[in-house]
């Protein structure tokens, strides 16, 4: 039986994301993180609408952040036998540090994977309705769904700016610091347009009656199907399983 990611009840998806996320963040065991990561991967692979390649493609944007976090944690967490002492500074790579930094990096990957899966397969209005059912104040829920909707627009906007600057001879090269400095002519117009979009959005919401009345109604209907029950079951099993196995 295959299911469509987008067709899943957003409440079940949210529950899965929250439970998995909390598990990986709280556990001190790398193995537990790996188990949850495996569960997420299986989930993505089993459903229609988001291929493994596309999903991993989204995670590629973390390929810069990940090594940075890994190295920083490696140097600043200590414990256990020293594996390598840095020549000039009073910093060392220890076995404990290695474990902890791997753990933190793994957490980041799994949480990013969860968030990406959710964002890529959930409609803004479904997400909104799910949050409201969970008693989140509507304005907050709406803010969340709006962010989901706007993310691709901002990405496109950045790409337009990126292209325009590159065709004016902008070259992004050199070490990390030079690269950031080189990108300034891209960041500036981008931030300005984000701020202006904010004003436009405020106007747009006023026009749509966002501040009209305290009591809202909703025309959205959420249904819970077999696939959703299975996902709920999987969430519970994961929670119970990880807690039981890893304490």
């Amino acid at each position: 039986m295959t299911f469509s990611h987008r067709g899943l009840d957003p409440r079940s998806k949210l529950a899965f994301v929250l439970v998995s996320g909390v598990l990986v963040v709280l556990t001190p065991r790398l193995a537990a993180v790996a188990v949850v990561g495996l569960a997420v991967t299986l989930l993505v692979a089993a459903g229609r609408g988001l291929g493994l390649r596309a999903w991993l493609g989204y995670l590629r944007s973390f390929r810069v952040l990940l090594p940075v976090i890994f190295v920083l944690n490696l140097l600043f967490y200590g414990g256990g036998p020293t594996l390598f002492q840095l020549p000039a500074l009073p910093l060392a790579v220890t076995a404990g540090g290695l474990y902890t930094s791997t753990l933190i990096a793994a957490r980041l990957v799994v949480v990013a994977g969860l968030a990406t899966w959710f964002a890529a397969t959930t409609d803004a209005e479904a997400f909104e309705a799910a949050l409201v059912r969970l008693r989140v104040p509507w304005s907050l829920a709406f803010l969340g769904s709006l962010t989901l909707r706007l993310a691709p627009e901002l990405r496109d906007r950045f790409r337009t700016i990126d292209e325009a600057q590159r065709s004016r001879g902008l070259v992004v090269a050199g070490g990390p610091v030079e690269r950031v400095r080189a990108r300034l002519p891209m960041f500036i117009p981008f931030f300005v347009s984000v701020v202006e979009s904010g004003y436009d959005l405020a106007d747009a919401l006023t026009v749509r009656g966002y501040d009209a009345t305290r009591r809202r109604t909703s025309a959205v209907r959420l249904v819970h199907r077999r696939a959703d029950y299975l996902l709920d079951l999987a969430t519970v099993l994961l929670l119970v399983g990880v807690v039981a196995a890893f304490g």
Partner: protein, 258 residues
């Protein structure tokens, strides 16, 4: 009966420049008013002021008043800005949800007004797949279902290609048939001159001329507003002393609408 009125409206920028100066305007029920002028003449600012969007702007000083009976709807220059949901039907419902309208009434109104605008085929489409003209129509519909007395449209056709402009113009015609007053701000008046009951010409933030289109043609021409060819030709002949009728639009050109 006046449904929307601006009285002595003045807007100043932070550095003191007058963006709008002493603008007074009254829109009667069911009337179609065309606000025209060159880019920078204050059309969009006036449109936003009429909808009350300038109230919270701290970088502008606003004088004068804007009064209205009932709701004032608005469609942005880029209508996609005001569409917030993934599916058209759901987005159109948004405005009604915000007003606390009962779900069954929401369904009923959406179906009724979609029929008015001939937009039923759009209801199940995704917002991001819509063409420019279709986006404008969905934004129009989203406003129309809230049954405003006036709808303000900011440059609805200027950036659209021919087929999409045709879609929007047809929708505006149907809109006019509902008795809702319509205020359109546009610099390209070729297709709107013949659809307006009254024209308001802005230049430098001030009202230069106001009245039925036929009475304003000379002033429009002087101000550099682009007129339909047939209108311009007839005006030139009238200048030369010939007594010829002055049409307000070119003959309708057939454009294939996808």
């Amino acid at each position: 009966m006046t449904v929307l009125a601006a009285d002595g409206l003045g807007v100043r920028a932070a550095d003191g420049t007058a963006l709008l100066d002493g603008v007074s305007l009254a829109v009667a029920r069911g009337e179609t008013v065309l606000v025209c002028g060159r880019p920078g003449s204050g059309k969009t600012l006036l449109a936003k002021a009429l909808r009350g969007l300038l109230d919270d702007r701290r970088d502008l000083t606003v004088r004068g008043t804007v009064t209205h009976e009932g709701d004032v709807g608005f469609v942005f220059q880029r209508p996609a800005t005001q569409l917030v949901r993934r599916v058209v039907r759901s987005d159109v419902a948004f405005g009604l949800e915000n007003r606390g309208v009962h779900p069954t009434d929401i369904e009923e109104r959406i179906d009724r007004y979609a029929r008015v605008l001939d937009a039923e085929g759009l209801l199940d489409r995704e917002v991001r797949d819509l063409s420019g003209g279709e986006t404008a129509i969905v934004a129009l519909l989203g406003s129309l279902v809230t049954e405003p007395e006036v709808l303000v449209l900011d440059e609805p056709v200027a950036t659209l290609d021919a087929p999409n402009a045709r879609l929007v113009l047809d929708a505006i015609d149907r809109l006019r048939g509902t008795g809702t007053a319509v205020v359109v701000a546009e610099h390209d008046v070729r297709d709107l001159l013949g659809r307006a009951d009254r024209v308001v010409l802005l230049a430098g933030g001030r009202v230069v001329t106001e009245g039925p289109p036929a009475d304003c043609l000379e002033d429009l021409r002087t101000a550099g507003v682009r007129l339909p060819v047939a209108t311009a030709v007839a005006l030139a002949r009238r200048d030369a002393g010939e007594a010829v009728p002055v049409p307000l639009a070119d003959a309708r050109v057939e454009v294939e609408v996808p």
